[in-house]
Symmetry: C2
Subunit: 193 residues, 2 copies
C-alpha cells in the first residue's frame, strides 16, 4: 500500500502542534501523584501519567528516564511537603501542650483529612520496601518528623509518638469506623504522659 500521505489530503493531523510548556515537568510530578493516589504505584505507568497530563508518551520518558526515577522524584516532593507542614506546626507551637494540639491537627487535617495523602503515604511505604532510592526518601521523612517532634518532646517520647502517628494513619486508612479527632487526641495524650 502507499503509506505516504498526500500533502493536501484531508486526514487529521498526524503531528499535534508543538506546545510551549515551560513547567511541564512540575505538572508531570503533580499529575503522577494524582495517578498514584487513584490507581496506586502499580497504575503509575508512563502512558497513564501522559494521558492524565495530556502530553504524549515521549514527554514522560523524556523528563524521567525510568519509572524508578519518576517514583523517586515524585515521592520526594510529596514527603517534602508533608514534612514541611509538620515542621511549621511544631515551630509555631509555643509549648508542649500546644505542640500536642498541633500534632493532632496535623493528623486530622494534613494526613487523615484527605484520602489522597493517606493513600500516598501507604503507597510510599510499600514501594520503599523494594526500592533503595525510596528507602532513602522514607528514612529522611522519618528523620525529619522525629526531629520536628523533638522540638517539644524527649527523643524516646518523640519516637513512640511518631510510631503511634504512623499507626493511627494506617488504622484510619484501613478502618470502616474511623476514630474521631477526640479519640486521636486521647491516644496522643496518653503516650506522652
Amino acid at each position: 500500500m502507499t503509506a505516504e500521505a498526500l500533502p493536501g489530503a484531508g486526514d487529521e493531523r498526524v503531528h499535534r502542534v508543538r506546545r510551549y510548556d515551560p513547567d511541564r515537568r512540575q505538572r508531570l510530578v503533580d499529575t503522577a501523584l494524582e495517578v498514584i493516589a487513584e490507581h496506586g504505584v502499580i497504575g503509575a505507568t508512563h502512558r497513564a501519567i501522559a494521558r492524565a497530563a495530556d502530553v504524549p508518551l515521549g514527554s514522560t520518558t523524556y523528563h524521567f528516564a525510568s519509572i524508578d526515577e519518576l517514583l523517586a522524584t515524585v515521592f520526594t516532593v510529596h514527603a517534602e511537603r508533608v514534612a514541611q507542614a509538620l515542621e511549621e506546626r511544631m515551630r509555631e507551637a509555643p509549648d508542649r501542650q500546644a505542640a500536642l494540639d498541633a500534632l493532632a491537627r496535623h493528623l486530622s487535617a494534613d494526613l487523615l483529612g484527605s484520602d489522597r495523602t493517606l493513600v500516598l503515604a501507604v503507597e510510599l511505604y510499600v514501594a520503599a520496601a523494594r526500592r533503595p532510592a525510596l528507602r532513602v526518601v522514607t528514612q529522611d521523612w522519618m528523620e525529619r518528623s522525629r526531629r520536628a517532634l523533638e522540638l517539644h518532646f524527649d527523643p524516646v517520647t518523640a519516637r513512640e509518638l511518631d510510631a503511634l502517628v504512623e499507626g493511627l494513619v494506617l488504622h484510619q486508612f484501613l478502618s470502616t469506623d474511623p476514630m474521631t479527632p477526640e479519640q486521636v487526641r486521647h491516644a496522643l495524650v496518653r503516650i506522652t504522659r
Copy 2:
C-alpha cells in the same frame, strides 16, 4: 511445513510426566506468600508462582481462576495465621500484666522477628486499598485483633494499642535503626497506663 511429529522420533518429551500431587493447591498458597514476600504483590504473577512452585503455568490458572482470587485466598490464609497466634497468646495470658508481655512477645517474635511477616502485612495493607475482597480480609483481621486485646483491655485502650502495634510494625519495617524489644515494651506500657 509438516508440524506433525514423527511417532518414533527421538525428540525430547513434549509433555512432562503427569504427577500425582494431591495438595498442590496448599503448596501454591504457601509458595505465593513466599513470592509476595520477596517480590511484592506486583511480582506475584501466575508465571512467577508457577516457576517457584515448579508446576506448569496452567496449574496456577487452574487452581485460581484469577490473580484477584489468588491474592484474596493467600492473604486470608496469612491473616488467619497471624490472628490465631495473637489470640492464643492473649488467651493464655492470665492477667493484664501477662497480656502485655505476651503482646510484646507477639510483636517481637511473630511480627517484627521475620521480615517476611512484616512485608506481607504491608503488602496486604496497600493491596487492600483498591481491592474490596482484600478490604474484607484486613477488616476481619483488625476486628479479631481488637477482640483478642479486649480480653484484657477496655475497648478504647484496645483500639489505641492496636494502632500503636500497627505503627511499631511499620516503623520497624522502614527503620534502619530498629527499636529493641525493651523499647517496644516501654511504648506498650505507656499507652496502657
